[in-house]
């Protein structure tokens, strides 16, 4: 609007001070973007559209206890279950324990149920056909520079082979992609055939880590879950079935109360930011009292002075905040492109909206008192220098 020129010029009246303040605002919102990206990675896992129709069945006793493979057929026959697959946590190490990534032995139809892990049909067929075949996510492949055809050895921590050796060697036959940017962390996983796993493992044969079911109608989820658990009631392998989202949430909450940590840090950051920008705005308006008085003599109403100062304050926050969030976005992309395994989601719309809301709120908050001061100045006193 036509006043923008005036507001912008007012903001940059003292270039150095405004620049320094902008840099502080940028730092605050850079942190906001980075920390919330980590928080979202923790809390939103399992909240995809695909995930909404998936459930996990684990041992009720402990999720480290295994379930019989014979349950597979019985779960399939439960009404409302569209598909069943299963997996085992393998926990293998590639070269160094520090190179941690998820690796699992999975049933042949795993990628049918997990259709969000996009695997070309040819590679899918190769996976089923190759006993020692393995499929990895594109991010993981980039991280270790793996190509299709490579032989990849993993050191078992839980499951030695029948001959006592801990080394399991796999042939990379497929690389899957995840297009949904919010689910990108799923691209850091390694899958191989459960058949090979079960044949070659030293003990626990015929046992499965957990089952994954796809329900035909997500709204039937509760009923189907109960029916599945009823199959194993009063047996030595009682089960607990819950939605993928519920499972991930329970797991994440055990790792850390990430929401509390991020919230506390951002609380401290924004508290200091309010003080800092409030001080800048107070100084800025104090210095411009005579100029605001001139505007009033020209005929600018009290309300328009109020709005001008508030707009300046919000612009200060919005400018610094947008750049800070933009930097966070950039940083997250770079970190993820390099394959650095920090759980982070790209800075999405929700974070931007929340950020802008905060910028507006803080801008108004720190602008209110100086704006009122400007609004209430008495022209006569201000021009006389009182």
């Amino acid at each position: 609007m036509k006043y923008f020129n005036l507001i912008w010029a007012a903001l940059f009246r003292r270039k150095t001070r405004t620049l320094f303040t902008l840099l502080s605002v940028m730092a605050a919102f850079l942190l906001f973007g980075l920390l919330n990206s980590v928080r979202e990675a923790f809390t939103s896992a399992g909240h995809s559209i695909e995930g909404a129709s998936r459930m996990l069945t684990i041992s009720k006793v402990s999720f480290t206890m295994e379930l019989p493979q014979s349950l597979d057929m019985r779960i399939q026959s439960v009404p409302g279950v569209a598909a069943v697959t299963y997996a085992n946590w393998f926990g293998g190490i590639y070269q160094d324990p520090k190179n941690f990534f998820a690796n699992e032995a999975v049933a042949a139809n795993f990628f049918d149920v997990y259709s969000d892990l996009e695997l070309p049909p040819a590679e899918r067929r190769a996976f089923v056909a190759t006993r020692t075949g393995a499929v990895v996510g594109a991010s993981l492949a980039r991280r270790f520079h793996w190509k299709i055809g490579d032989k990849i050895p993993l050191q078992a921590t839980i499951f030695p082979q029948k001959d006592g050796s801990n080394t399991w060697t796999f042939d990379l036959v497929g690389i899957y992609h995840v297009t949904n940017s919010r689910e990108k962390q799923q691209e850091d996983a390694f899958f191989f055939n459960w058949k090979y796993f079960d044949e070659a493992r030293q003990f626990g044969n015929g046992k499965v880590g957990w089952y994954i079911e796809k329900v035909a109608q997500p709204k039937d989820a509760d009923r189907v879950a109960q029916a599945i658990d009823a199959l194993s009631a009063n047996s030595d392998h009682e089960t607990k079935t819950q939605s993928e989202a519920a499972f991930q949430a329970a797991f994440a909450s055990q790792l850390a109360d990430i929401g509390l940590i991020v919230g506390s840090i951002m609380g401290a950051v924004f508290f200091t930011l309010v003080l800092l920008t409030g001080n800048t705005m107070a100084q800025a308006v104090r210095e411009r009292i005579p100029e605001l008085a001139i505007l009033k003599t020209i005929g600018f109403s009290n309300r328009s002075i109020l709005v001008l100062v508030l707009a300046e304050s919000v612009l200060l926050l919005a400018l610094g905040g947008a750049i800070g969030l933009g930097l966070a976005d950039l940083a997250v992309s770079v970190i993820r492109a390099q394959g650095i395994p920090i759980p982070m989601l790209p800075v999405g719309l929700a974070i931007w909206l929340e950020g802008f809301g905060l910028m507006a709120f803080i801008g108004l908050l720190v602008g209110v008192l100086p704006a009122r001061r400007g609004m209430r100045l008495r022209i006569v006193d201000a021009l006389a220098g009182r």
Partner: protein
């Protein structure tokens, strides 16, 4: 042109070097430096000039409370967050560090990394326990505890979500392996019965863990009969007779691990060599100290990195806030500074006085931040997933070393925020300043 670049580089070096020095120097060295500064202020002529200029500056702070508080609060925020996060890492590390000792050894299946992944059979247990380096008790029995580690899903207090708690089946000699352990309520479990004793931290965090409570483990009812305090990570566990746990979880005669007490810490090398040279045994042998320390490494490093990164970004914000404040401060004192310089104060006292003023504000901010971190977070209870995929409960530890580190950060930020305004104050043309009069 070259001279300008040279001066700029010199100034940048003057800014970076002291900051690096602050980070690397131990706290006592900094205190010595401060003492030396104090002597210089009191005894030399330039020093005394600097002090009077500082006094003038400090006297005006009440008029500039708003902008001074920006420095104080900004730095308090950085120091508070830094100390809180580092205290989290330190608390977790310390809990695990204290869990081990140098004369007890834990034996796992080769390559398993953690007890939950490991299986050792009864023959192996015998061979390990029979080694000559294993200490015997008064009755001549080897001090060796075959132990089974399993997870159970129990809700946490005040929550509907299940969390994993670690159940440890222990051998009858376990009490000799943990001399610090005390039963603080109830009694020890009776061998052969489905009885549990609960670590005091697990008792605080999990439901159904008070004495007399019944817990369903793999479909069988167990009773909690006592509570123990071992002063380490085991306080997050539930203990029971290993033979009964083996039955409940269908382990036969195998366990997860064997822990033994050696005759002395020096006997470790011989013990390890003996085990490793036996071709029939495929085992990993470590002192419990090494084993538990390794468990804390990953998470501790992650938290420290997180804390440092967050603090650095916050510090950048604080430096710019301080720059604003101090530039404004010297702008309003143009008159005083010009008068001082007209009287004959040279550049150095003015620079030093502005720096001291900023550093004093910074120390105040650092102290406030450190104080708040200590008051709110020392001994704050938290829990996370340990190596056995179960909850490890620990307390934040705000140590004196962390408080000192926080104050050093405060000084570094204050220095950066004060250096450039100080240089500007010294270079201000005298006539400009006097014209303000």
């Amino acid at each position: 042109m070259l001279r300008k670049i040279g001066t700029t580089l010199a100034i940048i070096a003057a800014a970076i070097l002291p900051v690096i020095a602050l980070v690397w120097l131990p706290a006592w060295a900094i205190l010595v430096a401060i003492a030396v500064l104090g002597v210089w202020l009191a005894l030399t002529r330039t020093g005394r000039q600097a002090w009077s200029a500082t006094a003038v500056g400090i006297a005006t702070i009440p008029q500039r409370l708003g902008s001074s508080s920006v420095v104080i609060v900004g730095i308090a925020g950085v120091v508070g967050v830094l100390i809180a996060l580092l205290a989290m890492a330190e608390g977790f590390r310390a809990t695990l560090h204290e869990t081990g000792s140098d004369d007890t050894v834990i034996v796992l299946r080769a390559g398993s990394q953690a007890e939950i992944n490991s299986v050792v059979d009864s023959d192996t247990i015998h061979v390990v326990a029979e080694q000559p380096q294993v200490m015997r008790d008064a009755g001549g029995k080897q001090i060796a505890s075959p132990e089974i580690v399993v997870d159970a899903s129990i809700p946490k207090k005040g929550s509907t979500l299940d969390a994993n708690v670690e159940i440890r089946g222990v051998g009858e000699q376990v009490w000799e392996l943990h001399p610090r352990l005390r039963i603080i309520a109830g009694r020890r479990f009776s061998p052969g019965l489905r009885e549990l004793i609960v670590g005091n931290k697990a008792a605080r965090e999990f439901a159904h863990t008070s004495i007399g409570s019944k817990l369903q483990l793999n479909g069988e009812p167990w009773t909690v009969v006592g509570e123990f305090d071992s002063g380490d990570a085991h306080d997050s566990e539930l203990w029971a007779d290993t033979n009964v746990v083996a039955t409940t979880y269908h382990r036969g005669s195998s366990t997860s691990s064997v822990t033994v007490r050696l005759t002395s810490p020096q006997a470790f090398d011989a013990f390890k060599a003996a085990i490793k040279s036996n071709p029939q045994l495929k085992l990993d042998v470590q002192t419990t100290r090494t084993y538990y320390n390794a468990q804390s490494e990953g998470l501790t490093q992650v938290i420290r990195l997180l804390g440092t990164t967050v603090a650095v970004i916050m510090a950048i914000g604080a430096v710019f806030g301080a720059l604003n404040t101090m530039y404004a401060a010297i702008a309003t004192r143009t008159r005083e500074i010009a008068t001082l310089r007209a009287i004959g104060f040279r550049g150095v006292p003015v620079v030093v006085s502005v720096l001291i003023e900023t550093l004093l504000l910074a120390i105040l901010g650092g102290a406030v931040g450190a104080g708040i971190a200590w008051a709110l977070f020392d001994n704050y209870t938290a829990s996370t997933l340990g190596a056995n995929f179960s909850q490890v409960v620990f307390e934040f530890r705000v140590t004196p070393a962390l408080l000192a580190a926080g104050l050093k950060w405060a000084l570094a930020i204050g220095f950066l925020g004060g250096l450039f305004p100080a240089l500007r104050a010294a270079r201000m043309p005298v006539t400009d300043g006097l014209r303000e009069l």
